[in-house]
Symmetry: C2
Subunit: 333 residues, 2 copies
């Protein structure tokens, strides 16, 4: 289960404060995901978009715009744009990862086929660009087009870094900044821009989104190894089986002795995995303290996020965004 | 082999007349397909983009802009945008169709994997939107974003119409207008708009691109059944095997007697195909004259294209575009 799905107070408070705007976003999403001629498109989109995701990214856009005092209509378009880009990437990710479940339900590629997921994802990408042109604001278009490129670049980088023990923490940071943080930071940045915020506030909003997105992904990756408890649950070990190099593994590989290195080589590079290997991997990460170090890295990024927020005007939404940063790391605190 | 690959005089004359602009387009494409961090992206892109495609679509944009007297730099950006959108759709098409060859070379999904094709396609889509924002022209952005949505919609419609004998010529026209003609008409239209052409000329350019694209796809589909000669060659019958309903088959199904209908049901709907079925299908299409009727339909669309051209100012490029319409149907004349 991703953090998106978890209902906790900071997120709910934000949803409540933005309820009217979010209703407008949802109406716009429903309107724009339709297709006069190809009913498969809204079917596939609805399956994913109405599956109870928490709409974290569009809420960031709405909150950013409101926080800087925006009173116009276009933050709704931008929030829907961000959600469409996110949904398109989920559809394509599930094809790329050959996933069978998302948010506790069968994936679109399983219910329909890979073809539909690829093409409906393309449709949503195109729709997202239509939505952003509605704003008539060149700068937000540049930012969101750039974010889309950076997301795809991050995913490709992840693809080529997988199964490669030479992957460094720098490369890992680049991957997650691309595949996850780029959309968080674009979401907050365009909210500030459409709201006409001064440059230093736009920068602070970008920095908040960037750090929040990085913390969010590090936590997701840590939870894949059971989080703080390092216990194997039903959602544990997917990255291990897919031979993805995430922070706790990268740190463990860096500290490995010769025998441990041979182990990582076998399970990650060669992909020769046997019963008990996941447990052994987790024991190595515990031994070297890399789960704990990863946890501290995530908390460090939320601190960065909250420091950025402090540069923004005092506002009830600012407090909620501050709490949201806490919420992102709550499950590994 | 698609028409893109065939070097003939009208196309070459156009390429010669636009040589300087095309060199600028190619330089911009090379610049923008790069990725600082993910070398897989330019590798995959170069494989496709430098495979000797004829750059038909970007040439349409350049020709349209020059024809209406444009002297600025942005037709080059729009031409590169159009080529990036085209390349992204090719990458995704080959995944969707599980293709193994394109332009006589192994496809990217075969040389690398489906994942790379999906993600590099996404990257090129995003890059295409960045390129169009460089122009600062809202209207061309709207048109190209819309065209991208219509392309994906056409592909989804094709997916759901495949294997369904109830597919009508209207649906077929909608599919090919989406998957093929939408990018042709957007290519010519944005050339006119960036050139500041009056509305009636922009409309004429759109109409030319639309009709040319439709003719182009009908010819492609006809050639899949051997074209005029109705002879089985090495590129014959792909659509039949994939159970895609194209114009000659749709017309033959409409004219089928009971036994013929049972045949189409078996091979297209049930997908139960045996040796000799393709030959039998072609015999039925010849018997009902549907290959000839399809040929005439394609020629009819090139006439429409040329009539639209006649509304544009006299110009050497106008003559070349006129010849190009002829060239598109040349192989089935």
């Amino acid at each position: 289960m991703s953090l998106d799905d978890k209902a906790t107070k900071p997120h709910d408070r934000l949803a409540q404060a933005l309820a009217e705007d979010m209703a407008a976003v949802n109406a716009l999403i429903r309107e724009r995901m339709s297709s006069e001629h190809a009913p498969r498109i809204p079917e596939v989109t609805a399956h994913l978009i109405e599956a109870g995701g928490k709409r974290l990214r569009p809420m960031l856009t709405l909150a950013a715009a409101r926080l800087v005092g925006y009173g116009g209509p276009f933050h709704v378009h931008l929030a829907a744009t961000v959600e469409f880009i996110h949904t398109a990437t989920l559809l394509h990710d599930d094809v790329v990862d050959e996933s069978r479940q998302r948010r506790g339900r069968p994936t679109a590629n399983l219910l329909w086929d890979n073809k539909s997921s690829v093409l409906v994802g393309d449709y949503l990408f195109a729709r997202s660009f239509q939505l952003m042109t509605d704003t008539g604001n060149m700068r937000v278009m540049e930012i969101l087009a750039n974010a889309s490129a950076v997301i795809a670049e991050g995913e490709v980088l992840q693809l080529t870094a997988a199964q490669n023990l030479a992957t460094t923490e720098d490369i890992y940071l680049r991957v997650i900044r691309g595949k996850t943080a780029a959309l968080f930071s674009a979401a907050t940045e365009v909210g500030g821009i459409i709201g006409g915020a001064p440059e230093d506030q736009v920068q602070a909003l970008f920095d908040y989104g960037d750090a929040l997105g990085i913390a969010f992904q590090i936590v997701d990756d840590l939870l894949d190894y059971g989080g703080k408890s390092a216990e194997i649950g039903k959602n544990t070990g997917d990255d291990f089986r897919e031979r993805k190099l995430t922070m706790p593994v990268i740190k463990a590989v860096a500290l490995a002795d010769e025998a441990e290195r041979a182990f990582w080589k076998r399970v990650i590079e060669k992909g020769d995995q046997q019963d008990g290997d996941l447990e052994h991997a987790m024991a190595l990460m515990t031994k070297h303290g890399t789960l704990e170090a990863t946890r501290l890295a995530a908390i460090g990024w939320t601190d960065t996020a909250r420091k950025a927020l402090a540069k923004l005007p005092d506002h009830p939404l600012r407090q909620m965004l501050d709490d949201l940063a806490d919420y992102v790391v709550e499950r590994v605190r």
